[in-house]
């Protein structure tokens, strides 16, 4: 099951920041808590079952402990704010063995979660949400199956149906309530991206998958009592390990990629950080035009790597002050192809490769390398082209000062329809208005080995000078 974590988000660099919880979200949390209290007061702890009283208490305590362990040891999903844990299996086992009241109590253990860094509001919300989901699932099971207790072989098919319904209700209640809080707390820009349906399908599927363990725990109970909960923990923790490992590798991957891209850029003093900024700009546009999570991730990498082929351009050409010869101009025009050559073997989305190859095409068809026009140009390339030109204009070059953000926007508007896709330009301007744009700091005099680009091929306001034969 999934819990919300609004207060603290870990960014890729490990930095943490506080997120304000909006007033609307506070009211929503209040309503959910009241609903949970009301629902709990309507239930008794145990619906009468064939289990002796002391066994019921043991079962309740074990399931509460199971919930707490699962809940405290969450695995981060790709999304940085929703954390996933298999604790729903404990709630659902309580629903089968003991009834809705006990399921609600087990869910409410989320209040006591051993995770630190949770704000009081978050604890309250998570506890109330899981309690409500537990009561709802328990009531569904009881309504369909008419009775709770140790499942028996003879009535298994009915139990299975009732359990499937209860699990579905549980997942729905859990994600519905979470969706509400994300919706209401959308004022924060960091949360917007998270609340988008990033890996939602996987999340729902894994929730439903692990929910079925609840039935397994319940069925094992008559054979091995509390040990059922212990042994079920083993595969859960192995899965959790794999998930955490995945998240860790993903961060390591991104960090390595960053470092390598920086290495490529150090060759040229003025364009340091260019790839990173273009990548950020491309992601801003992607969010604005509503690309899904996988494509956004791909465009992030495509933006970062779009100029990697520039390494194939000889330093003398990059440094040349006078007009370029036809041949020299041709080597510059080839850099998207060289870039493609380097990254082709990476298991990327096909689209990211297209974005790298065509990021110097123009809407009017006068770009390179293929001279595509209008919507022949892949969407990724149209997005990267805008972020690319904007960053070039708003950075310092050896032959001019950096333009201001407003001037850059004016230039983008000028180029919309001829060089740039107007829709993308519009989206970028809206995104900048909302999130702002960080220009690189003023570059001092180059001090180290780095070479200095004298003509920037990305700069639309100062096109490359080519010798006219």
């Amino acid at each position: 099951m999934t819990s919300g974590q609004l207060g603290i988000s870990r960014t890729a660099t490990g930095a943490e920041r506080e997120v304000r919880i909006s007033m609307a979200a506070r009211i929503y949390i209040g309503v959910v808590v009241l609903a949970a209290v009301a629902a709990m007061s309507q239930t008794t702890v145990f619906v009468s079952t064939q289990m002796p009283v002391q066994h019921r208490w043991v079962a309740l305590a074990v399931l509460m402990a199971l919930f707490l362990i699962c809940d405290s040891a969450r695995a981060p999903l790709t999304s940085r704010q929703t954390k996933w844990s298999p604790s729903s299996s404990a709630t659902l086992a309580a629903a089968v063995l003991l009834g809705p009241g006990a399921a609600g109590l087990v869910g409410a253990m989320s209040l006591l979660s051993l995770r630190r860094r949770l704000q009081a509001e978050e604890r309250l919300f998570n506890g109330a949400m899981h309690a409500l989901a537990g009561v709802a699932a328990g009531s569904t099971y009881l309504a369909i199956n008419d009775t709770v207790g140790l499942p028996k072989n003879a009535e298994f098919s009915e139990i299975f149906l009732a359990f499937a319904a209860a699990a579905a209700v549980h997942v729905l209640a859990n994600h519905g309530l979470l969706w509400g809080i994300y919706r209401l707390n959308r004022g924060d820009p960091g949360l917007r991206a998270e609340a988008s349906e990033s890996s939602l399908v996987l999340l729902l599927a894994s929730d439903l998958g692990y929910a079925s363990l609840g039935l397994v725990i319940a069925s094992l109970w008559s054979a091995m009592m509390w040990f059922a909960a212990v042994i079920v923990l083993v595969p859960l923790f192995v899965a959790r390990w794999a998930m955490a490992q995945f998240a860790e590798e993903q961060l390591a991957y991104a960090a390595t990629m960053n470092a390598l891209c920086q290495a490529v850029e150090t060759k040229d003093y003025y364009t340091r950080g260019h790839g990173d900024r273009v990548s950020r700009g491309a992601v801003m546009i992607a969010n604005q035009i509503g690309m899904n999570a996988a494509r956004t991730e791909a465009i992030r990498f495509a933006g970062m790597l779009h100029d990697v082929g520039k390494l194939g351009v000889p330093t003398q050409v990059l440094q040349k002050t006078g007009p370029l010869t036809e041949d020299e101009f041709a080597t510059i025009q080839l850099h998207p192809m060289r870039g493609l050559e380097i990254v082709r073997e990476i298991g990327f989305l096909y689209e990211a490769l297209n974005g790298i190859m065509h990021h110097h095409e123009r809407i009017d068809g006068r770009g390179y390398p293929m001279g595509l026009a209008g919507h022949e140009i892949p969407e990724f390339a149209r997005v990267i082209a805008v972020a690319d030109a904007f960053d070039s204009m708003t950075s310092t070059r050896s032959y001019r000062e950096a333009k201001s953000i407003d001037q850059g926007i004016v230039e983008l508007r000028k180029g919309a329809g001829t060089q740039f896709d107007p829709v993308v330009v519009q989206a970028f301007i809206a995104a900048i208005a909302r999130d702002g744009w960080e220009r690189p700091g003023p570059a001092g005099a180059p001090i180290d080995l780095a070479t200095v680009t004298v003509q920037d091929h990305d700069d639309p306001t100062a096109p490359l000078q080519v010798v006219v034969p």
């Binding site: 298994f156 069925s219 794999a242 590798e249 993903q250 390595t256 390598l260 490529v264 194939g312």
Partner: protein
């Protein structure tokens, strides 16, 4: 890849030529086991009723699991879901079917059903043009057979509750099962390590530790799932198998995503390491050849898999520091540059890699790659000494496959025992002839 290494790769050979005696032995044993099981099953089943529902359900489960094989880091393949199904079937003495009389499952039937299930599950792989994974299936089958036969031996049956003695304790049964599952896992792991050591030219002891480190978590998950499954089926009958598919699938997806990102990671580093080639700093294919060579040498010297991974990354990126040079070195051969410049390039490359914050070991190896093997304080780590030798070898030999040329390069390095580690050079001489493909 050069044409010579391609010629030597096993997948270019006819199937039987690529097989070594270890594989043949394994397959022969499995084939005999299966044949015997079918024969005995046919005899046994004349006198005894068979629970076809259970056979079908578990056979289907095994086939399903074999269909969803899991690629693990290092080009390994596992079938955890198939293993759960097969082991559970092996550990079920009886299956209660409604109110019917419990039927005892003979071990030979377990083997026969699992063999059929695995074969059926492997067919789609073959149809899709993927390798059939016969070796893995044989290993699994032998492990399952071992467990099934031991579990039905009189000694073990004395310990666990049966229809005649239901009063035995559940924990005793759990303990017996745990021991047997561990035994099965051990068979699987040891055979896997034997095959792998043979494949990649590693020492068996190193391969075994690698295999265990990589497999123990998955093995633990499989073992616990087997125990849970056996008990649930005894309580609730075969229908409960459906409830297992969900959790097992989720675990499998988690592992698959983990292995997937590791593969992408390596692929990306491999590709991006080529920027030095595209920029004209080094000869085409240099990074890849050096990394192949370095990994093979490291393996020959008994390095474990995590170290080899760091070595492979470091070897791939060892020339990244050249990006700081204004103009490429003629021919890209760092072996021709002054030691100070070599150190500066290494230093810079190490800084670049260190900036990632997650590859400190790799950065360390790159930093020391130009240090002489002897007389330098602090002494360079083994990985760096390997990269130094592999880099020099490739700078001198390149993509050439001329044996005289590589022998001359080795001789030249032998003459300089201060710069090049003697042991590393000997290992390099061994692998330069073979050129084992990297499997990381």
């Amino acid at each position: 890849m050069t044409s010579a290494t391609r010629r030597l790769e096993p997948d270019r050979l006819a199937y039987w030529q690529a097989m070594d005696s270890g594989r043949l032995l394994l397959m022969g044993a499995a084939a005999m086991l299966v044949t015997a099981s079918f024969a005995v099953s046919a005899v046994v089943l004349r006198h005894q009723a068979v629970d076809w529902h259970a056979a079908l359900a578990f056979g289907g489960f095994v086939a399903f699991g074999e269909l969803l094989r899991l690629a693990l880091p290092g080009g390994r393949e596992a079938a955890p879901i198939a293993m759960v199904g097969a082991m559970s079937y092996a550990l079920l003495l009886t299956v209660p079917e409604g109110s019917g009389k419990p039927v005892v499952l003979p071990a030979v039937l377990v083997v026969a059903v699992c063999a059929v299930g695995m074969t059926v599950g492997a067919l789609p792989h073959v149809a899709a043009g993927r390798p059939a994974g016969v070796t893995g299936m044989c290993t699994r089958l032998i492990a399952v057979a071992g467990v099934a036969f031991i579990f039905r031996s009189p000694v073990v049956r004395f310990l666990v509750p049966t229809a005649h003695h239901p009063e035995k304790q559940w924990w005793l049964e759990v303990a017996v099962m745990a021991v047997l599952i561990f035994f099965g896992w051990l068979i699987d792991t040891v055979v896997g390590a034997l095959i792998r050591a043979d494949d990649v030219g590693a020492l068996f002891s190193v391969a075994l530790v690698d295999e265990m480190q990589l497999q123990w978590r998955l093995g633990l998950a499989v073992g616990a799932s087997v125990i849970i499954m056996v008990f649930s089926v005894k309580e609730l009958g075969l229908g409960v198998l459906a409830a297992f598919i969900g959790p097992l699938l989720v675990t499998q997806v988690a592992f698959r995503r983990y292995a997937g990102i590791r593969a992408t990671y390596l692929q990306t580093v491999r590709s991006l390491a080529r920027v030095t080639e595209v920029a004209g700093y080094v000869e085409a294919g240099h990074s890849r050849r050096v990394s192949r060579l370095a990994v093979a040498v490291g393996r020959g010297l008994g390095m474990a898999e995590p170290e080899l991974l760091a070595l492979e990354y470091a070897a791939l990126m060892h020339d990244i520091g050249q990006l700081s040079l204004r103009d490429p070195i003629p021919g890209g051969a760092t072996v021709l540059v002054s030691p100070t410049d070599q150190d500066r390039i290494a230093e810079y490359g190490s800084d670049v890699i260190g900036r990632a914050g997650v590859l400190d070991e790799v950065a360390g190896l790159v930093r020391c790659q130009a240090w002489p093997a002897r007389g330098h304080s602090p002494a360079p780590p083994l990985g760096s000494r390997i990269i130094k030798a592999a880099n020099a070898f490739d700078d001198m030999v390149g993509s050439s496959t001329d044996r005289d040329r590589s022998a001359a390069a080795i001789d030249r390095m032998r003459l300089d025992p201060i710069a090049y580690d003697v042991e590393v050079v000997e290992a390099l001489r061994d692998v330069a002839g073979r050129r084992v493909p990297s499997r990381l």
